[in-house]
Symmetry: C3
Subunit: 465 residues, 3 copies
């Protein structure tokens, strides 16, 4: 840093930039610019009292009035709030043909109908407004690029203006990403405010399901045992019951992740076209499939680990040895049952394979991996392997249930895993229907753009599909 | 989307683009362009009967004849099949100096000697042909960028033409990646057709090995027990045998992943130069090392999980308690054997360390991680840590075998794990040979460009190596 | 490759490039350029005796003297060592206005005060020096882009010069990344030399801690048992003791990863500003937090696996059955203790949840994932979830200790896990202090740029924060 600064300091072509606003962001930006070998001049409403300014390379001028500042530099950073934009109109002559970098963010979304940058462009039509740097934190500006602070997204209508800003960003050590014309500004301004928007719904679903099923199993296993047999099973909550809840939630969410695709298929079949929009609820559902799947994977992981710790549990060890002891005392000899061995082993085995496939799906949905795939490869994994995963996990649960399906229920409440089987079973049946040759054929044609209504256009349909 | 569309709609500088072909892709593209604030005009062979066109922002003209369309816009998307290119020649005058975006794909690879885009450029030399958008799915165009549909690869001979297309792609929300001159078109046209080409061979190997070893262990454990002792062991297939197959396949494939490197080393030593090409089989082998390694990692993962579920298996629990019971009944007392404890513990321990290293190799081969590494770091991990992994896993297996190597074989068939040890042992020996100071020195010199034949050039060799 | 080469060979606009130096890198580069359809001419000090040059497309001229070569091409690659730069001065006239690509690296860091590229620019002010390709291995040039060899970083003062080099890089199949002005050259030249610089310190800490704690537990468990009871516990080293060391190191490093943040908070509170630099040791510490965390995660993973294999260990099985047998023989009956069940289960459960959260932190720190997050999302995960992880893991350890805290120590040495609890406990207490409403409020204001000293500037403070 230091050395670099001094280097570009000695260099002749050291550029002068202007910053309006001496707030936190303005200062951090100035500091960083100085360290990267720019000369910086601040514009402030109170030139003689705008507090300490960065002293990085001793080459910063005392903050001066906006007019003077604006005239000096060809590139001006606006580090001020939208409310203070109005006074800029008075500077219109000085800002003619300058590049105005709008770094502003709003306290919350949709506060204004129009993006700050667009409003700014309206105010000063003569200037080239570029929206940039607003997705960075002041912290990142002081300490350089780090994990979530590598890219500087920018947008604007002037190509040269954008180029100029991109060069500054690059010199500061960030990667500049052009997001197109100024109409993308709103998007950029909303970005720093978002907190996992597309994860909300799936998380609510997950939490809701978990709570529901947890209560159900507690009633069925703990309360029932307490009321009917006066036994205190409460200790089972921590592991045994948790390990009933996790797989159930996981399986349900996994099928929730593939259900919308099947529904969409049937809707398209019914309508005979793919060009009419789906109902909103379906659209929103389809957009959060990935999140649904990843959360389901998380629960599946918990299920696996919880299962693997079973044998080190005090309760299990106690029961096993008690079992052995009683056999001795009562002089019983239990015989080895091959069927049970087959069943249990194969249900472990299938569970493991299902989980491994699931893990594979998760890995391929990592941005860097999916970017490296062609969409044919991606859809192959996510759809073909995805349904295989659903199938394995469902089979795993059926094998777990086995003869349990026939046993009488406690308090008319079927075991929880039976409830978890409804959705995936339905999903698999529907999917099989769609795979029937006749159905599949017409669906494929529809997805290739064919429409039941128009006939004469058929010839051009198979194009590029 | 909506708002943005309307915004750019109100904007004056709304560009007009032309699309030839009203097929699925053409329509989806048109829709997306409209939503992103372009005006779109279609060119069709049947202007008055080309079916429903997207009505996104009500600003689409009725599809008109190609001539008319071509004259209106400076940028033309060709969403038609290669077979229909010929008629374009009639449009040569109208297409002079226009940017032609070729989005076509072929039904299968190597259908034509020449890439579609290159053939197009030959047909209309006056136009600037740019290959782009062909790697996207129509679905991605309708629903915006998603996992495997973020990048728009483009190539062409004219820089401005490429720039223009890149801007459109950016405005549609995709990331434009320049792949160089039009000679890269063939590559781009093959991309959407590929389905894990570099994974084929490794997968075949994996499947073949799995089948082979599975049959072997079934014969040795199940059939043998059935024939010789009339015992039905079949239930062991699901877990016990699977857990014999996985580690073996994993170890063999791991050594297959490092063997070619060693072979290459010996070839270079023998030839005394690194500038002559390796035999094709070796080249192909070296190119799929990464895939071999990742598949091996997958099998290692399965091995781990299958091992961890051992204690919850019915069969195992039964055996253990039966064991205890018999001790009581026959009043035996088994003494604790420290050697066994040492051996088993250390072979678990080494197995775990080996697996962890293996996992580390897998993580560093994620695109985003390996891109962040300098090649010195990458080769350090992949080679140094890689061989350490091989060593650990091999040692793990030897410790597992222990005294078993001396026991008599059933039906002259050695236990499967012995077979798995051949390849890694050979690999380790060869690698050690290459690490002998004298050998290592000359190999290093060769890899730095030195050649046994020429002497006078020696001085310039150590440059930049 | 071949076809492409021939294609661009037939093409008229085939560009001629010049390479100075026929060393390994020079040759590999030439080969690759030829394959990508460039014509190449070499410059060598010994034109008639510079050894075999690549014969890719038969279009390479016999290496000629530098003067001649330089005059032919407008773009010159310098594949020679810095020591040989001097002779270039004699070529100043021929190199006027040419693009000089400096690919040189130095044998070790800080060998020269000034970057090679900058020194070159000084030597030949008339040329446009661009630093590029030096981060690639000769291997990558011969075999095309692969994992750690995808990007070509370049920097230079001339925009067109950089553009020209970027185009060549793209045509060779690499992704060109502009790193700004020539002042970034030093950085680029150091890049290939680095071997995990930011991982050094964390690794040393990890190794040191591991060794220390290992010795401690060996003395406490093995030596003690041997001396006092003459029992040989040594076999416990491989798994039991290892599984004591891993979690302890993991927990300590996890808290080391969050401690600096808290310390920084207190320093800022004390100083009443965030604009004064932290002491160096703290700065360096904060810069390797990510690495500390990832290593801690690795140890946590080992801890988990080592825990899961417990029940398949010979020692454990022996003890369990011996336990059962003794119960029978002595006709004891142990009663089930619900408290123990509660305690053990909940400490397993909390451990698992802690590990899962930890894993989540690890995943989000993957470059591709963190790039996709807004910094608000990233800091939410890394800070909020991070402290939750610390809390869970600490609670896990406390529950493990339980009543153990009161037992007498062997040789006055407390059990190792107690030592591991010091740091995280302190961390949690400090963090809670910072979360006190009053403290939190003033810290937030400071982090938003407010400073205790200046008052009049307060109005502009809340801007953009």
């Amino acid at each position: 840093q230091k050395s670099r600064c001094s280097v570009s300091f000695s260099a002749p072509e050291q550029e002068l930039l202007c910053i309006f606003g001496t707030g936190d962001f303005g200062r951090s930006l100035g500091q960083r610019l100085l360290h990267s070998g720019y000369r910086v001049v601040y514009g402030s409403r109170r030139p003689h009292s705008c507090g300490p300014l960065p002293q990085g390379c001793l080459c910063v001028l005392q903050a001066m009035s906006h007019e003077a500042a604006a005239q000096l530099a060809s590139l001006v950073f606006l580090c001020i709030h939208r409310e203070h934009y109005d006074f800029l109109e008075t500077l219109t002559p000085q800002l003619q043909g300058k590049v105005l970098v709008d770094v502003s963010n709003n306290p919350k979304k949709n506060l204004y109908p129009e993006a700050n940058a667009e409003c700014l462009q309206r105010l000063i039509p003569g200037a080239h407004v570029v929206k940039a740097f607003n997705t960075l934190s002041a912290w990142a500006l002081q300490n350089g690029p780090s994990d979530a602070n590598r890219q500087v997204y920018l947008c604007g209508n002037g190509a040269e203006a954008k180029q100029a800003v991109a060069e500054v960003a690059t010199k500061l050590g960030f990667a500049a990403l052009d997001k197109g014309s100024l109409s993308a500004a709103k998007e950029l301004e909303d970005f720093p405010l978002q907190l996992f928007p597309e994860w909300r719904m799936p998380l609510y679903v997950a939490v809701g399901l978990t709570a529901l099923i947890f209560v159900y199993v507690v009633i069925r296993d703990v309360v029932y045992a307490f009321v009917e047999q006066g036994k205190d099973n409460s200790f089972r909550i921590m592991v045994s019951l948790a390990n009933k809840v996790f797989p159930i939630v996981s399986l349900i969410m996994l099928s929730l992740c593939y259900l919308p695709g099947v529904i969409a298929g049937f809707i398209q079949l019914y309508r005979g076209t793919k060009y009419r929009r789906f109902p909103d609820w379906l659209d929103r559902w389809m957009l959060c499939r990935k999140q649904l799947g990843l959360i389901a994977l998380g629960f599946a992981f918990l299920h696996m680990v919880y299962t693997l710790i079973i044998p080190i549990r005090y309760y299990v060890r106690f029961r096993l040895s008690a079992n052995t002891i009683s056999q001795i005392r009562e002089n019983r000899t239990s015989v080895f049952d091959t069927t049970t061995a087959w069943r249990t082993d194969s249900y472990y085995s299938i569970g493991i394979l299902g989980f491994s496939l699931f893990l594979l799906l998760g890995i391929t949905s990592l941005p860097s991996v999916s970017n490296a795939l062609s969409w044919r490869e991606f859809s192959f994994i996510q759809s073909k392997l995805g349904y295989l995963t659903v199938f394995f996990c469902t089979l795993h649960t059926y094998l777990y249930g086995w003869s349990g399906f026939l046993r009488p229920y406690k308090w008319y409440m079927p075991p929880a895993y039976m409830l978890s089987l409804v959705l995936p079973s339905v999903l698999i049946v529907l999917k099989l229907l769609l795979l029937l040759p006749c159905v599949d054929r017409s669906l494929t044609r529809i997805r290739q753009g064919w429409e039941r209504t128009d006939m004469q256009d058929g010839s051009e349909k198979p194009l590029l599909t």
